[in-house]
């Protein structure tokens, strides 16, 4: 199972880590008593943990290599297999539906509210997936459009008393406009340059919100944002959470519906072509710039929609909700979930958002855990948790 070579390698790695971490793990200087304490037991622990971690790591790497060799036919992820199988498809989807409908009535408000956050991330993830996963444009300022949506609802409601349902399309439009305006100059850049510029833009929006007191109260933010109403009827707090839950579910379903259609459309294919090879894409008669711009603007539209729901759910927003970390989290959802794969992104959002909520230990080291996950996924499953599969077509032979 484990070869001698691997044991030797792990042993060396453990030794190396013991040396590396010696200053921080072992030596402790007490500046008051002027003494140095050596915690030798820590050295031992480091060694043992590193040794076994390395063993497992190498073992998994080997398994992966062997698997790659043994079956050349690419295996389809289990979720896709379930969805393709006629017999399982209906019960599978029905079970999910039933669970989703029953959830807020079975579980407490606290749990429902957490699931709402996760579902908002599903929306955001699916939106960013268009930009990053399909079109291959690394956008690190996605949160800016999220902020646009949230502030649009808060401000329009504050000043004009416009309701959630009216703001929803307005903010979607605003998202599209902002996406186009930003996309127009920056989409001429590619790769890393694009990432840096969008990162800067995200921060600019946040800093403007923080410093422009007249617009949105600066860092104090805007409170008392009303929850959505149901044909003019305002629910009490408990029911309103349930209501928002169903609103989010509906929006997520709508998103999945559209994203699924887009993926297998003329435009969606052009996005993927652009991601795979820009030059060949242009040589096939696709307008590179226009195609990029539609992806960028559409992604922004979904971010803005997510923002409106977020504002309605928390009833209070301030610029702190729209930091760079938010962009990074959404990006993690897409990359870990599976770039370009809608099902992967949904799974990614649920795992990455629910995990820190329920495992408090993880919450403290959230970014650390995300980073580690990222590395693990990149090494063992470079295509993400659930990779995307392309649509297949059936044909009867037209000739002989």
């Amino acid at each position: 199972m484990v070869t001698k070579k691997e044991i030797k390698l792990s042993f060396v790695i453990a030794l190396w880590f013991m040396v590396l971490t010696f200053p921080i793990m072992v030596i402790k200087v007490n500046t008051i008593k002027h003494i140095v304490i050596f915690r030798w037991e820590n050295l031992l622990w480091t060694g043992i943990v590193c040794f076994f971690a390395s063993l497992i790591w190498n073992y998994l790497l080997r398994i992966k290599e062997e698997k790659k060799k043994s079956d050349t036919k690419d295996d389809i992820p289990i979720v896709h297999r379930l969805l393709q199988n006629e017999k399982f498809r209906i019960p599978f989807l029905a079970a999910i539906c039933l669970f989703a409908i029953a959830y807020p009535f079975v579980f407490s408000m606290y749990h429902t509210s957490i699931l709402i956050s996760a579902l908002i991330y599903v929306m955001l993830g699916l939106g960013l997936n268009i930009v990053v996963g399909l079109a291959g444009l690394l956008d690190l300022g996605y949160v800016a459009f999220y902020a646009v949506g949230a502030y649009a609802y808060a401000l329009l409601n504050l000043h004009f008393g416009i309701s959630f349902w009216v703001v929803l399309p307005i903010s979607a439009l605003l998202g599209t406009i902002f996406g186009t305006l930003l996309g127009y100059p920056v989409l001429r850049l590619r790769g890393d340059y694009l990432a840096i510029v969008t990162l800067g833009f995200g921060e600019i929006i946040r800093i403007i919100l923080e410093n422009w007191d007249e617009l949105g109260n600066g860092p104090r933010g805007i409170g008392n944002i009303p929850a959505p109403s149901f044909f003019g009827h305002q629910f009490n707090q408990h029911n309103s959470v349930i209501y928002i839950y169903f609103v989010v579910i509906a929006l997520v379903l709508l998103t999945i519906f559209f994203v699924n259609r887009l993926e297998n459309s003329r435009i969606g294919r052009a996005w993927i072509a652009l991601r795979d090879d820009e030059i060949a894409c242009e040589a096939m008669g696709i307008d590179k710039f226009k195609t990029k711009l539609t992806a960028f603007a559409l992604g922004a539209t979904w971010a803005a929609l997510g923002g409106v729901v977020f504002a309605a759910k928390t009833s209070f927003i301030n610029p702190m909700s729209f930091t760079i970390w938010e962009s990074i989290t959404i990006l993690c959802v897409v990359v870990i979930g599976g770039m370009g794969s809608a099902i992967g992104v949904i799974a990614g959002a649920l795992v990455l958002i629910l995990l820190p909520e329920y495992l408090r230990a993880v919450a403290e080291y959230r970014m650390l855990v995300f980073g580690a996950l990222q590395v693990i996924v990149m090494v063992f499953k470079p295509e993400g948790l659930i990779r995307s599969i392309r649509k297949t077509y059936k044909f009867e032979k037209t000739k002989e």
Binding site: S265, I279, M284
Partner: protein
């Protein structure tokens, strides 16, 4: 009759390097023309210049699509050149790896279809029809090229020769009148090369295409071409039928080196 592609005095400088030096070349309708020359002669650069990937330093490029007036091509973006009816393949295969074989061909259909983003989301019946037609058309192209068996495979998983053919299929899907092939036989075995030979002739005769190809395989070039253009160090050194080229002293010199210098 006006030649289908008419290139005059094309020059391309990369800094101090003259990759193309005053090239004049014409392709007639229904012709299979070949562009040959030693490595680094500037053949690929020539393709890149007429398809708008590079902007040539000097010269002009005109096309006369069948049944249409003569028009200028230089200064157009790559995708517009393709829309005008020039399609190309690449020397180093550039397929879309994240897509199936059929989808690769459907990308070629892109510039002949209309549906936009709203259409994709709402799927009105016109869009559905267009999409269905695109699938059928693309499949037909695959059948013609002999790739129908791979229709739902991922493009990367194809054998090498099939990948090269897929590049041709993809180019055909854009409905070109002139096909530019950059070393289509590179890396193919004799059997595959033979099939390619048949395919190219079939394309000219049945698809009403003119073809300009770059190729190192002399046997293929000599058997296929109606007209051969030879470039060396960016300059055109000869033009003529296969027989003329075979016996042209300048061409022999370019390929075998200047023997008088060695002596």
């Amino acid at each position: 009759m006006e030649p289908i592609l008419n290139v005059k005095n094309l020059t391309m400088n990369f800094g101090g390097l003259k990759a193309l030096d005053d090239i004049t070349l014409a392709v007639e309708k229904g012709q299979i023309a070949a562009l040959i020359g030693p490595n680094g002669a500037g053949k690929t650069t020539f393709f890149n210049c007429i398809t708008g990937i590079y902007e040539p330093t000097e010269g002009n490029v005109k096309i006369t699509p069948p049944g249409k007036p003569t028009q200028k091509l230089q200064g157009l973006k790559t995708n517009l050149v393709t829309e005008k009816g020039l399609a190309r393949t690449f020397q180093n295969i550039r397929l879309f790896e994240g897509m199936t074989v059929l989808e690769n061909v459907m990308i070629g259909r892109h510039c002949r279809l209309k549906s936009g983003i709203i259409g994709a989301m709402l799927k009105p019946s016109s869009q559905k029809k267009e999409e269905k037609q695109a699938v059928v058309d693309s499949y037909e192209i695959l059948e013609k090229i002999g790739l129908a068996q791979y229709v739902n495979e991922m493009a990367v998983n194809l054998p090498y020769g099939a990948q090269r053919r897929l590049e041709i299929a993809r180019a055909l899907a854009t409905e070109p009148f002139l096909l530019l092939l950059d070393e289509p036989a590179a890396g193919m075995n004799p059997q595959e090369t033979k099939e390619l030979d048949d395919l190219i002739i079939w394309l000219r005769d049945n698809e009403d295409l003119s073809i300009l190809l770059i190729e190192h395989d002399m046997k293929l070039v000599m058997s296929l071409s109606d007209n051969i253009h030879v470039v060396d160090y960016g300059r055109k050194i000869a033009e003529g039928t296969p027989e003329e080229i075979k016996s042209n002293p300048d061409v022999i010199k370019a390929y075998l080196g200047d023997e008088s210098e060695d002596a």
